[in-house]
Amino acid sequence: MSARDVVLGRVRRALADVPREERPEQVPVVRDYLASHSPADPVGMLAEHLADYRALVHRTDAGGLPELIARLLAERGSGSVVVPAGLPKGWLSAVPADTVRRVPDAPSVTAAELDAVDSVVTGCAVAIAETGTIVLDGGPDQGRRRTTLVPDHHVVVVRVPDQVVESVGQALPLLSPVRPLTWISGPSATSDIELDRVEGVHGPRTLEVVLVRE
């Protein structure tokens, strides 16, 4: 007998008390929790909750975005930046090409090469106000998962209010489970030493979130 048959057989014998005719959906699950906690100002709450977790939050409009991104990379002293294939052309237009090397998000770029890159600039799929979360789904303006993981400085652009939802429950239906998803709530952190939170272990230690009003 295969291990599969052994385990499934044990499960079925263990559930001898469950009526044979009972269907899974007949076991009641009451979802009377709130669909959202209805923040008065979701974008404001997103900014506040991101800041709570030491993400650096900036606000601008479409016109000011290129200057802002250029300034953030310059302040960081970045000499190189990973660029997802579908990043809107204008976003890096104010970043000087002679001093900041563009590294494409391509399969040929190894993890070790990414490790030598200073920054990464991406968009996102959706942002959640209540939890202060940015979700990446590998879309063309975000790239492969490792591109937002290995460099130590991540600048992520959120279009507000379009890309902002109030709650986790509102975000899930907008996301496709077929795509690899990364939910980011503040920079890398640990509470492993005496349960004190310390920002910065393996993921990008600096997370800058740019809220662009459209």
């Binding site: 295969s2 291990a3 052994v6 385990v7 499934l8 057989g9 044990r10 499960v11 014998r13 263990a14 559930l15 469950v18 269907r23 899974p24 076991v27 699950v29 009451v30 979802r31 009377d32 929790y33 709130l34 906690h37 909750h49 977790y53 399969p107 490790d115 959640i128 209540e130 939890t131 202060g132 590998g138 492969r144 998962r145 490792r146 993981l149 986790v168 899930l172 489970p177 077929v178 690899p180 998803l181 990364t182 939910w183 980011i184 709530s185 890398s188 952190a189 640990t190 509470s191 492993d192 030493i193 005496e194 349960l195 004190d196 310390v198 910065g200 272990v201 393996h202 993921g203 990008p204």
Partner: protein, 495 residues
Amino acid sequence: MSGATGTYLGMPPFPRAAKDAVRDATLRANLRHATHTIRDKRAAAVAELPDWPELRAAGAAIKDRTLRHLDHYLVQLEERVTAAGGVVHWAADAAEANRIVTALVKETGEREVIKVKSMATQEIGLNEALAKAGIRANETDLAELIVQLGDDLPSHILVPAIHRNRGEIRDIFARNMARWGRAAPETLTDAPAELAEAARLHLREKFLRAKVGISGANFMVAETGTLVVVESEGNGRMCLTLPETLISVVGIEKVVPSWQDLEVFLQTLPRSSTAERMNPYTSMWTGTTDGDGPRVFHLVLLDNGRTDTLADEVGRQALRCIRCSACLNVCPVYERAGGHAYGSAYPGPIGAILTPQLRGTAGELDASLPYASSLCGACYEVCPVAIDIPEVLVHLRERVVQGGPVTVRGTRTRIRPAKGHAAERAALRAATWALDRPGAMRAGQRLAGRSRRLLPRRSLPGPGRAWTASRDLPAVPAEPFRDWWQRRTRGEDGR
């Protein structure tokens, strides 16, 4: 150290292990500081959500639906994971799971793997099994790294090195990092930020080089075949994204029916666990994705006593557990005894009901675990899936003392009453006899009242000695309550 941390095998029963732990002043101070810090934060995080009771009830209901139809959901999950390019394996016990994973790693030709913190692989002793096959498993969670470098055992579900303070961690890093890779900086102090930085540098080269990653999962969605790992540091993302081969070992009870169900657990787990609105990183993946992440994905579905637990209608609620560790942080027994005394990967109140069900109560340690509690109920109050831990504890005590029907490795059997509980059984029989006979009870109480000067002040003789070893015996009153009550009510009635 060979990638192997210590083992829980052959640990003494809870009371003996706990006795040593409570004498360790550093350990007690570390634990008290940590558990009190986190429990207050958790309360604040939970208080932010006015619908917490509804979320908690929904979480319990979703898990109950899953457990009552576990075969259905497992088959569905297998189908979806396979359709998405994953390979599903089944393991009836720890040895089988270890064999499968070891063979999979050997196939890749690698001698080294990187690991995300995982309770399931801790439970089955995977690191030790891999070490025997000459494969080193590098733990990458900061706390697991502290434990591994210190040749130690985890003592908490969320923060396995909770028993170590910053000074001890500094010493472990300074002393042992060089043996396994990049050494700690010479100037390392005990500042948590510096310790985290040392771990970052030590592990970075391992991440960049690794070809095989091993993980567990917090949830598996049957409807979509999606696995979910929640974490804080980014080591999880590294292990799930950079290697070419990913092997996930997951307990069969971790399945949830639908994508929508995540809306409940992604609210309750972070707030219960690290007391955050959301943990820094959550990774979700369905099979493999072209050009992004591992090209090969294996899922090992682990039973290892879970179906035996499922067969117990009272005890099966323990399988709802989402491993948040809130019950540890509020438990007065855990706070004093620490995690090691529980003798398994699952310490604290949840361990006291899970371990004896996963492993059975035949061993001395496992039979002692249902007693590692004062039944105060704080664990039940904070549990985000409403596991009535005190109810299961009492149920398991009854099983230990009286024996009865259980399922062991899938086979129904009867266990005999455990040895060493003869006094308890005799006391219960005597109590039943006396409570059925009010006359005898009254006579006995009066006799005790009159002879109370002859009774021992502090400790009982004979088999009662164990009970009074850590408690003072309550004083026997001069007059039984029932006599006093009758006298009093008669007086008021003027009779």
